[in-house]
Symmetry: D2
């Protein structure tokens, strides 16, 4: 069974579900799942269908649905799953989020190709190269210095990707870099946002005396740690736990929300609306 | 905004969503949410619509949708929310699940009427009567004795209900009683089923040394603790906790899953299929 | 079995556990539990013992332990559990946290006396008086106006309490009031602090698009929502949930962390250190 | 700071904590943590101390503490952390639990040596050998056939270990094998025990319609899936999840409880009593 999926966002009006399912039905689609969400006056929908008997070829789909798209001012995102998505990874010193993704890819759980890992430290090189994945070291300078980004963009140009993900990459991205990549960038932040933005969340969580520590995966926007949240989770801590323990325990949450976000994105299950995410099941 | 909802279960076939939304759309319904689920070759759907401009009167709905119903062999359950549901409660000695529901009802969180509480103990009488709710004591005998059920059925007949719920009622119901009530019965079991069926789950959980204790709400069937599960949750325990601690901690889970199940049922959000439940959002 | 307990905080040094257990041992105490925590250079300990054969009478305990207390500069808090603690409650319009505590007290789960409920609204009066508990309405004015506090302090003076708890009391307390009560005050805040301080946490959580909502119980300090956190918990939310849903779901967390905090305090299990809490098991 | 730790189990009697801390105190130990647990009439304790000024050499410890040990019939387990523990791993086809442990070891999170991986399938060979760890394939026959165990014991004899762990090794161990290894064996089971013992827990969980799926790490005993539970966790599932989804989601729990159990064991933090575990913080 080969499955296509379609994400739709448009102003809400009567007859939308009827029109869309009618279009698919008349072209012999076998609906597998349909999810719909209404917010403010906007309509969001994700539909999956079996393409065994589907009368429209992938390359003709956008053209064929165009009358409907225009009539309802639809924002469409269709995926026929005919190509593995390509995921570029960034990291710094900490290997655990990076390795977690690499292992999930290697063992077949995460259905992507990983053309490169870019890092501003050498610490993770051997882990990455052992798995046969190219590792590029690109030094970064302290503070709001973005000279290194030209070199990073060069690599992305040579090894095109569909999605970038920051596996504990501890360097702010410039607004220009984000724009120039022309694709979504997923970050994992080591706190339950909006608490504890910035570089020392576990220290701050300890000092504030919270009873749960969390982690957050989100899309990167130019404002640090302010992008649309994709997933969060928390774990219970205890007064006996020092900052070091919080870091070790927090890793479990970081790995989980990071992998979750990448999977959902790769499966075309996320719509961003008003700095929030609609994440379909 | 007044909302109607419709639950549908039928064999899956092409064009179902299109047909149903078409029927509603042509009668001027404003769709609010639509949820759909496919399993084996069965199709399940719940749809909510604003009835402000809806052209079909509640009393005509079943007749008007009949051609579609027949064509697709649909099992339908429609609710125009034009009447408060009536919930009958059973309890034994422990007041906490019972009181939790009564307080939720009294403070407006749970949108039901509670015509009576039936108990085989006197312990909860004053709590119930303080809130102005009739309390009926009906003694039960030990073992598989169901003589008392005639009297219980008499009360249900005099004070008709849409749903019964067992708030820690520690007496097995006969298959005959379940059938004669002619309505769903929700039970809360003080373990994470299927572990620890029967009357001593906290003792057994302690003896087995589990690290989480749970609670389960489910529909009652003639087989003890085997009915379709509606909701479950767990809480972490510690080796220092004795059976008494498990009981106190477990109450939090019991109250939560019990109230959840009653709310979901009252809002017409549950379909039972093959001893499992589909619980819409 | 009657159990006494002792909380100790003092600078850490060699031999502390040995000295304390020696003192208890020599006076025929049967140790039931001992918990200890070291942080910075401070030592914290809680010990419970069976007083069946204990040679020191409650009224002599402080005098007898004084040599040790002085030698190690100990801060001591002993409780022979010979008197029910008295809990004074404050509320505003929302009844659910208040009712949760009242029901727990009424059904014996929470071992306290409740001499009064003070409120700046009349909404909860009947719930409270139905349970036979005095309800005092004291109006409050908008903004940083604390005129009403004199009247509140008068009630606390007439009906002395060991602990005050704010069951969704939506009015800031003045530093002077906090000091004059001469006792701990527990508050429940309807967010996962430090996120979303202030009066509209569920609205802000919705706008930020978080994937979990939480609640926090903490001791009140003059700085709003900045006091030492006692307990927190979170619940998963979904993009389909509106602010109203978050409020309903959040209640479950609020009730849970509020009751937890009151129970732990009443059992003499909390030490505050550096705006954090050590909460013994 | 170098830390030693001591686990104690003995019949409870007055003066135990005093005696033990006295012995350590007189030998100049600086206590770091002390945890104690009493159950039935048994006393359990774990104490950590800084050995900077400790007057007793590791090799003399057991001899020096012997008078106390004999007096109180103590079961002792001391660890001076002067040698890395050696962990032998078993796996079958599924690589994820295995890889999770190997990555944690490789990146320094798990402080062990891994002398070998034994498997009854070839599937994981390249993953393991890529990390420079010896991989031994030993075929197993269907049913209650244990011929292959002699060869496995040979490997353990040649490459001695302190602990064995079964990373989704899908073959029952004979009672004789368990005894002959002379060490603890940790297993991860892919359900929330005692529910769903055996080989198909995700299928059975799906059929029963549970709302949470879990995983369990436990010590191996001759009775399948009946050994003392070390850790459990659960994750929420949804009616839309098929068995395949449960398997993928369950992996997160499996990895977490398996790594937790190995870490706790390696740090000498677990005591088994009556088929339950006391797991210190």
């Amino acid at each position: 069974m080969q499955i296509a999926n379609l994400l739709i966002a448009c102003p809400d009006t009567k007859g939308l579900v009827h029109t869309i399912t009618g279009f698919l039905y008349q072209n012999n689609a076998n609906l597998v799942t349909i999810e719909q969400h209404i917010e403010d006056d906007m309509f969001f929908m994700r539909v999956e269908w079996d393409i065994a008997d589907f009368k429209i070829r992938p390359e003709d789909f956008i053209r064929k649905i165009q009358p409907i798209q225009k009539k309802f001012s639809m924002n469409l995102n269709v995926d026929f799953n005919n190509r593995k998505k390509r995921l570029g990874l960034f990291c710094s010193k900490d290997p655990y989020c990076l390795m977690d993704i690499l292992v999930r890819q290697q063992t077949g759980e995460l259905n992507v190709e990983i053309p490169f890992v870019i890092s501003n430290f050498e610490d993770c090189r051997s882990y990455v190269e052992n798995l046969g994945i190219p590792f590029f070291f690109i030094a970064t300078k302290e503070g709001l210095n973005f000279e290194h980004e030209a070199e990073q963009l060069e690599i992305i140009k040579k090894h095109p990707t569909d999605l970038l993900a920051l596996a504990r990459y501890m360097k702010v991205l410039s607004a220009e870099f984000i724009r120039k990549t022309g694709q979504k960038i997923i970050n994992v932040h080591h706190s339950f946002l909006p608490s504890f933005v910035g570089a020392r969340p576990y220290d701050e969580a300890y000092e504030r005396g919270v009873k749960l520590i969390g982690a957050t995966s989100h899309y990167v926007t130019p404002e640090l740690d302010q992008g649309p949240i994709i997933e969060q989770t928390t774990r219970r801590i205890h007064h006996a736990h020092k900052v070091e323990n919080l870091k070790t325990m927090g890793r479990e949450s970081e790995k989980e929300v990071f992998a979750f976000a990448i999977k959902k994105h790769v499966r075309n299950k996320i719509i961003v609306y008003k700095n929030r995410t609609i994440v379909f099941a």
